[in-house]
Subunit: 343 residues, 2 copies
């Protein structure tokens, strides 16, 4: 159960505790023989450093808080969270940092959270909550706690963040539809208080503008990133603009709902209506026809969140860092993307 201590290792290796510490921590200034005997002793005794002692002496926690402050509904229906968590976990593990997961579920827990994060229990914090106006990251940043958030925060914010290129991805999607000869292109938006949704919408509008096609308000419908919402929006669109020949849908899940409505309405995809989704999630491959979508790597986002945070921790600086991850259009049959059967 109890691992050997550094003292025991030192004694076994016939060196001082200081030297033992040096080789364990990879300091180079140690004679080869000393190093070797320490390494041997570590092996033999199965030495595992005591993290608490290490932290106390170094005055660093070697752990980062990952805060997921999200409603139950979103949390359970959006694979985003598991995926970004996986990326964060991998990034942290590579740096031997511990992931302290925090999921506040009430007002009072929120308050404790701020105490906790500001109290030196962690070296920094990553926020993965998506809803627009969340003041905690900003407050912690102001108190000098290194912070990074997933997704672009509302404008005016001073905290570092990592985000996917939502705007660029949307432009690519709409350009693709334009190249396919579509001219009456609708959009199904996500909830616009989320910056991701707002950016995708902007990309749609910008792509149309660049192509010299005037935007029409009746070609926009609102969703909520859910399948149901996508279906509802598609019905609206069909009713308001029966001549619509393509739709850029701001999430794959909504696109699934839209496809169902189109099938029920007897509109063939992509012949009559071409569809492009966003996320390139697993469902994109299971729809009929397979869904063209904009790929983003949420796991990569998790890794980037870690590296941005650790940069700030190392540098002990207060620099604002922004990382925008590339997105990529993956054409499939729902937009007539691929001439062959390859998907």
């Amino acid at each position: 159960m109890r691992s050997a201590t550094l003292d025991e290792v030192a004694r076994a290796a016939g060196v001082s505790r200081a030297t033992a510490s040096r080789v364990v921590n990879g300091t180079t200034t140690v004679r080869v023989e000393a190093r070797e005997s320490v390494v041997e002793a570590v092996e033999r005794l199965g030495y595992i450093p005591n993290r608490a002692a290490h932290r106390l002496a170094k005055r660093r926690s070697d752990s980062v808080g990952v805060v997921i402050a999200e409603t139950t509904a979103r949390l359970f229906n959006d694979p985003f969270f598991s995926e970004v968590l996986r990326g964060i976990s991998a990034g942290l593990a590579a740096h031997k940092m511990q992931l302290a997961l925090l999921m506040p579920q009430s007002e009072s827990e929120e308050n404790l959270l701020e105490q906790y994060l500001a109290g030196g229990h962690v070296d920094g914090a990553i926020f993965v909550s998506l809803h627009g106006d969340y003041p905690l990251p900003e407050r912690l940043h102001a108190r000098g706690v290194p912070v990074v958030v997933a997704g672009e925060p509302p404008r005016g914010s001073r905290v570092s963040y990592v985000d996917n290129d939502n705007h660029g991805g949307a432009i690519a999607a709409v350009n693709h539809l334009l190249e396919k000869g579509r001219r009456t292109i609708g959009v199904i938006n996500g909830p616009l208080e989320m910056t991701a949704a707002a950016s995708r919408r902007l990309g749609y509008l910008d792509a149309l503008r660049l192509a010299g096609i005037p935007a029409r308000a009746e070609l926009e419908a609102g969703g909520d990133f859910s399948r149901e919402g996508g279906a509802r929006a598609m019905r609206e669109l069909l009713q308001r603009c029966p001549e619509v020949d393509a739709v850029f849908v701001a999430s794959d899940l909504m696109a699934v709902g839209a496809l169902e409505v189109l099938r029920t309405a007897g509109r063939s995809v992509p012949a009559e209506v071409a569809i492009v989704g966003f996320d390139d999630s697993a469902v994109a491959l299971t729809t009929d026809p397979p869904l063209s979508s904009v790929r983003q790597s949420v796991e990569l986002m998790g890794r980037e969140l870690v590296s941005v945070l650790l940069q700030a921790v190392e540098a002990r600086d207060h620099v604002l860092r922004r990382v925008i991850l590339a997105t990529e259009l993956v054409p499939r049959q729902s937009s007539g993307g691929l001439p062959t059967g390859k998907s």
Copy 2:
């Protein structure tokens, strides 16, 4: 940034560090005046205990490892993980324990994991991986590390676990179908190497047996807990036994697929075929008709996992604990469950 130390609090309160420690930790044997002046000093200085020092002195980590060793696909498509995580998080927070999330993603990370968990970095571990044969919990248990797993482990295992009453839930579901007058009841199973799937199947068989109805192999079809799998299984069932008048589907997601197939096949639900799912997840309310299902609380499971683990940690014992959480049938229209429109 840096919080006051206990020493500073003691000095400000005019007592010794020992006394200050006693009131901070809630020991009762402290004179009222001393207590009050310490409390006041804590307030005034904004004292936050240094966790590393506390841990080092107490030789306890006050944190538990939560291991999610799961394939990406399952992790991202199953809300189970977020939900159980939320329950665990809440349970741990209530005990002021820290949640160290561990998501090993390779062989080598798995090995480090065992080192880590056995190395005293955590007071115990909760395992949330679902696939059948996972040796790590057993090994840690044998090494004296308190361990509890979510879901019944394969038979022969000696580790504590918390599970939902899959068997009882399945019996309730099938009994309900029997009460509705159905006699040709099929089943769509999950992957049987998962104990949850196996138990549900057993419940189906037992309920039939108790009702004196012989089981027929052609009324069983296999799924994989996915929507696709459910659809495939339903097609099989219709082909092999067109006279089937009810199906117990071992997960809501599979039931969604089954309902789609039935609609396409022109079978009305519940008039011709009654359906009951399992999980009572959010989708149960969005299907058409609303899906009867067996309710289980995964979040509660998370809380129970914590309390079982902490019992073992406190007691420093090696007792095998098993907690089976009640499930409950929620009748809706897919089984003709409710005479009125209430769902």
